[in-house]
């Protein structure tokens, strides 16, 4: 195990909230606004960490456990994805399953915390979240199975660098994973993080009742989730040769993530949210793309 892989984790811990700033800056520049500062997510997290908290009388310990479990799960996930071809500390065959299911644990407890408030709005968001993620899961795993078939490897740390981006299969998988990425991170066209109406939200509405350090944990976990899933896509697009000097592939990967954030910002500026009924169709389409990529590899 290399020291560099731990430096990569620290980079993730430090830089993840920056991606949110980049997305918001991109959206602001499309709309001709100045927009919030690039580091706004950091300010928010720090401010929330310094506050006290208010809890609803309806809630139980589940509500308090939700953000803690979520942050712990995504921190372990951070130790599974490689940065720029450098193997992650927790790399093993089948680690992609642990990644997918850790994000599942995070979702499970976020949903329970939402239901613990007894609010209909949060129940509604929770209900949508579990449906969309259930359909996104097959798309994610089939896409990675396609890459596993192409490279003959079952570990993210080794299969992502070994994939060749310029083959049609990998392009299809990247497209499918991008859809899953947008869905899992509650971005447009699935969910609008900036909407002001509780009725239309998915992820944001589930965390309405959290405050103080709990809310800081939630903000930080969603930034880290964006980072983790972004790295899977970026790892496929910028495969880096093994053995190259450390700073080069890592800075490529981080530039890739910044580029991905800009693309997300552009998508959010150009598209409207889909109707809720259309979302499952888009996710099934992503699953079909993954399956089609797998069939192409079988040729």
């Amino acid at each position: 195990m290399q020291i560099t892989s731990f430096i990569n984790i620290i980079l993730g811990l430090l830089l993840a909230p920056l991606l949110l700033g980049i997305i918001n800056k991109t959206k602001a520049s499309f709309a001709g606004r100045t927009g919030q500062p690039l580091l706004q997510a950091y300010y928010d997290i720090i401010k929330q960490l310094q506050k006290g908290a208010v809890y609803s009388k309806t809630t139980s310990w589940i509500f308090r456990a939700g953000p803690v479990v979520g942050l712990s799960a995504v921190l372990v996930a951070l130790a599974i994805v490689p940065v720029g071809g450098i193997a992650a500390p927790l790399a093993f065959s089948g680690d992609l399953l642990l990644l997918a299911y850790l994000l599942g644990v995070m979702r499970f407890f976020t949903v329970l915390a939402a239901l613990d408030t007894g609010s209909s709005f949060e129940g509604m968001g929770a209900s949508r979240e579990v449906l969309f993620s259930a359909i996104a899961e097959p798309a994610f795993l089939i896409g990675l199975a396609a890459i596993a078939r192409e490279t003959g490897i079952m570990s993210l740390s080794h299969m992502l660098p070994a994939a060749h981006f310029f083959s049609p299969e990998v392009v299809l998988v990247v497209a499918s994973l991008l859809v899953v990425f947008l869905c899992e991170n509650a971005r447009i066209p699935f969910d609008d993080p900036n909407t002001h109406l509780e009725l239309t939200m998915i992820h944001e509405v589930m965390v309405l009742d959290h405050s103080g350090p709990d809310f800081a944990f939630i903000l930080y976990s969603s930034a880290l989730k964006l980072w983790v899933l972004g790295l899977v896509i970026v790892g496929l697009i910028f495969p880096s040769p093994a053995g190259s000097f450390w700073p080069a592939p890592v800075s490529t990967a981080i530039c890739g993530l910044i580029l991905l954030a800009i693309i997300v910002g552009i998508i959010e500026s150009l598209m409207a949210r889909l109707r809720l009924l259309r979302i499952p169709q888009l996710l099934v389409a992503a699953g079909s793309l993954s399956a089609f990529a797998f069939i192409l590899i079988l040729r």
Binding site: L75, V76, L98, G118, A126, A134, E137, L141
Partner: protein, 657 residues
């Protein structure tokens, strides 16, 4: 082996004594439960020894039945299925001591304890029997004793109907097993299982496989033969539901796997068939579970789902076996078998939890419950552990077995020929979808029952059950965590078991999986360390700050009410609408029709697809056929005399030909 027989004798004697004093509720409960617990503990010693050392012991006595002997065999495969039977039954008996006492004045509890102990002994004999006659007798005793347990509250019409459906389905299943054993027996010239070994032509083998799949599949509850399961399991008392769902349906899986040992190398399509049935049972099982409003019925449908996962594992394993891919074969079977044990643990836990909810709140209707975690903290915690485990999430045991099946499917998808690897993609997609929907279903079940505000008086007045009921749940919950964290060690018991089926223990392949699981354990350990560190950080941050409490944010509405909470039905509605094609949920809506508030109603009802689409039409057709046959039953003596004469004449001419 003799220890197992001693243990079973203790259990059956305890049952008979309970029967003898059946009018005395407390005494018969004491006798029934104590003998079960003692028997289970004694029996676990040889079972664990057999699994650990991988040896085989037999008892073979002469008896009056032709073509065979009184033949019992304890090999690693039997022991592997006996392990959950004894563990769960012992715990359910402790739990039942308290749970059944609530019925002390209404029922003769001795009768129920007799059938409970008989069910346990017959399940053990099903796994031990190595002779067809003995096997079928145990199989029928198992069905009958559980029938009487399902019919416990026979004064209710719905319960009578449920037990009746269960009885009919059981006999239909056995009707497929008899010809299968006849084919085996006539080919081998003996009804002992030892004689069966692999002498069939491929045509006969195919027929036997299909018969075994239908016969044993009916007991296991695979789609579309599952119709009895969602009606019978909720009708039984909770400890019995736990045993039926946790271990009794697994005897179907045991029968199927044991039959595979008689059939030898399977053709490829058997694996495809098992995989397809597994995916269908898994996905439809969890979808129907989502559509349920009753907690125990929801859990019963989840048994169909988990049997689906087990069949996916077996199917993947068989595809690997026929294609000569040892890692796919070994890990497919290993994952399926591990899931047998894991499902027994968490489903037992969940059914006991549901029973505790019923005991405390006297209601199982999801939309009438809520907020129970404050009234029943231990039940709530254990039910949560069971929910996370059944959703296949780390760091609990459900993830371990699903992970092994996933690894088998990924290995198959990476290296098999195109058509087989596409089937592996089906397995991966199926498992992923099942996992996601199971998480949806259990966030619904746990969230609506235990979280939020109470939705009815029953839920408001709920109280925690006594330690007699929470202690067995705690042991099961600890077992779920234990297997979840030590998957790498637990999977080491698998090689001798799959050695019985595949003829090769595949120790090397299992060791590879064990290494992967070790990394999973490392990840889980890091996860738990983070959990503790972050909750420590949280309490440190909040220790010096103001922590207030207020109402839930309600968008400015000033008078929220418990009835405004999201209900189980509304939570599941988007999923149910999306999968309307399979579920065919009927909605009954009465809209408020005036401009001022008036009465409104909304009702949904989901009928089982197998019952509506397959069983009802078949039974209706049979019924109408025999209805038309009634013409011959005139009821007048001379018509019957005419029948006799005509038959005699026909036989006479037949002979003269």
């Amino acid at each position: 082996m003799s220890l197992v027989l001693i243990a079973l004798a203790i259990i059956i004697i305890g049952g008979l004594l309970a029967l003898a004093v059946c009018k005395n509720g407390s005494l018969s409960t004491l006798l029934g439960a104590a003998s079960t617990v003692v028997g289970c503990i004694i029996a676990l010693i040889p079972v664990l020894q057999t699994i650990y050392y991988g040896d085989t012991t037999i008892i073979r006595l002469a008896w009056n039945m032709p073509y065979g002997s009184f033949f019992l065999k304890l090999d690693p495969l039997s022991a592997f299925f006996l392990l959950p039977i004894f563990v769960l039954s012992g715990l359910a008996a402790i739990y039942g001591r308290e749970y059944m006492m609530a019925y002390r004045d209404k029922k003769w509890l001795g009768l129920s304890w007799f059938f409970f102990n008989l069910l346990l002994v017959s399940m053990a004999f099903v796994c031990l029997a190595h002779n067809t006659v003995l096997f079928l007798i145990s199989w029928e005793v198992m069905a009958l004793s559980s029938f009487f347990l399902v019919a416990f509250e026979y004064e209710k019409e719905a319960v009578r109907k449920a037990s009746w459906i269960y009885m009919v389905a059981s006999y239909l299943g056995t009707a497929f097993l008899l010809p299968m054993f006849l084919i085996f027996g006539s080919e081998a010239g003996s009804l002992d299982f030892d004689g069966f070994v692999q002498g069939l032509s491929s045509g006969e083998a195919n027929i036997c496989f299909i018969l075994a799949l239908v016969g044993f599949g009916t007991k296991a509850g695979i789609m579309p033969f599952h119709v009895w399961l969602p009606v019978a399991h909720p009708a039984a008392p909770s400890p019995v539901s736990a045993i039926m769902s946790g271990v009794m349906i697994k005897t179907g899986i045991y029968g199927l796997v044991r039959t595979l040992t008689f059939l030898g190398m399977p053709p490829l399509w058997w694996g495809y068939l098992l995989l397809a049935i597994g995916i269908i049972s898994g996905v439809l099982g969890v979808l129907f579970a989502l559509a349920q409003h009753d907690l125990k019925r929801l859990l019963a449908y989840h048994s169909v789902e988990n049997i689906g996962i087990i069949l996916i594992g077996l199917g993947v394993g068989m595809i690997g076996w026929s294609s000569g891919m040892p890692i796919v074969a070994a890990l497919g079977f290993a994952g399926a078998l591990l899931h047998v044990i894991n499902h027994a643990l968490f489903k037992g836990l969940l059914f006991l939890g549901a029973g505790s909810v019923f005991h405390g709140a006297h209601n199982l209707e999801l939309d009438h419950l809520g907020g129970l975690i404050k009234k029943m903290p231990s039940t709530g915690l254990f039910f949560l552990i069971g929910s996370v485990a059944i959703s296949g999430l780390p760091p609990l045991n459900g993830f371990v077995s699903e992970f092994v099946i996933y690894i088998a499917s990924f290995s198959g998808a990476m290296s098999l020929n195109p058509s087989s690897s596409l089937s592996m993609i089906g397995a991966i997609a199926g498992l992923a979808l099942i996992g996601g929907l199971a998480a949806a279903c259990f966030t619904k079940a746990f969230g609506i029952v235990f979280l939020g505000e109470p939705r009815s008086k029953d839920a408001e007045n709920a109280r925690e059950s006594s330690p007699w009921m929470t202690l067995p749940m705690m042991i099961l919950a600890v077992a779920c965590i234990f297997i979840g964290l030590l998957g790498a060690a637990v999977i080491q018991v698998i090689p001798p078991v799959i050695g019985v089926v595949l003829g090769n223990p595949y120790t090397g392949e299992i060791r590879i999986a064990s290494n992967y699981l070790f990394s999973v354990t490392a990840g889980s350990a890091v996860f738990i360390i983070f959990l503790m560190a972050i909750s420590g950080l949280r309490s440190f941050l909040l220790s010096r700050r103001s922590v207030g409490s207020s109402g839930t944010w309600d968008c400015g509405y000033a008078a929220p009410d418990a009835r405004m909470q999201y209900t189980a039905s509304s939570f599941a509605q988007p999923i149910i609408d999306l999968f309307q094609f399979f579920l065919r949920t009927k909605k009954n809506i009465t809209m408020p029709d005036s401009y001022f508030l008036g009465a409104a109603r909304f009702e949904t009802h989901t009928t089982d697809i197998g019952r509506k689409g397959i069983y009802n039409p078949i039974f209706k057709a049979i019924g109408s056929f025999f209805g038309r046959m009634k013409v011959v039953q005139e009821g007048r003596i001379h018509i019957y005399v005419l029948y006799v004469v005509v038959t005699l004449l026909i036989l006479l001419f037949w002979n003269m030909r």
